[in-house]
């Protein structure tokens, strides 16, 4: 269990894992040594809806920062996700093939997308949001959306 920042906007509760960094789309990175796991934030999965299919670049693929590395197809939208890191995909979460709903159920845990061998984490990190900055961003976005209703 990871520590979370949490906010409730309207009827939705959003959680942000404080051990991760985030790109502005809502893809998280959790770094361990020279590797990182990537996944969808709680906010992104809630906003996107139930996931029907997910595709991730196969193991061995090289990722560039901000380049599309995964596509999710939900009941509402199809989204290309941009990589928050530069590196090589070393492992794709096998659970996604038969149970992509695990992303909705546990976005920061069992619903991770892939594991990447990092190439230049120092540079990547400087271009990402930390948990607090991402939390503030999604809070504003969620509150703005509620005002539109």
């Amino acid at each position: 269990m990871f520590p979370f920042l949490e906010t409730k906007v309207d009827k939705f509760t959003f959680r942000v894992d404080t051990t991760c960094f985030y790109n502005s789309e809502g893809v998280w990175v959790r770094v361990e040594g020279n590797r990182a796991r990537l996944g969808l934030s709680d906010f992104l999965q809630l906003r996107s809806g139930d996931i029907a299919f997910v595709e991730v670049k196969p193991e061995g693929s090289l990722l560039a920062f901000d380049e599309a590395f995964s596509t999710i197809e939900t009941i509402k939208v199809d989204i290309d996700l941009s990589s928050p890191v530069t590196g090589k995909v070393v492992f794709v979460n096998p659970a996604l093939e038969n149970a992509p709903e695990v992303i909705n159920q546990d976005p920061f845990g069992e619903g991770w997308l892939c594991e990447v061998e990092l190439k230049d984490w120092g540079t990547d990190q400087s271009r990402l949001l930390d948990a607090t900055a991402y939390f503030e961003m999604i809070k504003r976005e969620a509150e703005d959306e509620v005002k539109k209703i």
Binding site: D50, A52, F53, E73, I75, N104
Partner: protein, 142 residues
């Protein structure tokens, strides 16, 4: 006097404004009005929510197939609350995962993908209706 066999009850999602809810209802109409009209009966979810006595009684005394458009699973929950026995529950998302080419879009009117998905879903429901009808027939002959 022979007692007429009770029909299989079909309870679809009543979600408005969502393609998946529409797919569930189109499939339910196809089963109950075109494919298996003699073996099935559609019960609108709204009647169960309102507590309509007759609908609740039918559901409580029948085998039900629920078709839910989203994970809130209102159809399943209302049938359970009405004391019904769920013979099979369908979720449109699960069916879509089996027919990826049939991506539903549109709300009041489904796109071609949505119509095909509803048709595929209806055919899966038809199979379950046939199984339930056959087993009831077997029971009555036992």
């Amino acid at each position: 006097m022979s007692k007429s066999p009770r029909k299989v009850v079909i309870v679809p999602c009543s979600g408005i404004g969502k393609s998946y809810g529409t797919v569930s209802r189109v499939a339910a109409y196809q089963v109950t009005e075109e494919d298996r009209p003699d073996q099935t009966q559609l019960i609108p979810l709204a009647l169960l929510v309102m507590g309509d006595e007759e609908s609740r009684k039918i559901v409580a005394e029948s085998q039900a197939i629920t078709i839910d458009g989203c994970k809130l699973a209102c159809a399943r929950k209302m049938v359970q609350q009405s004391g019904g026995q769920i013979a099979r529950e369908f979720a449109v998302l699960e069916v879509f995962r089996r027919y990826r080419d049939f991506k539903p879009q549109g709300i009041t009117e489904l796109n071609e993908g949505g119509e095909k998905l509803a048709d595929a879903l209806a055919k899966e429901v038809d199979v379950v209706v046939d199984e339930l009808s056959a087993s009831k027939e077997g029971d009555s002959h036992a």
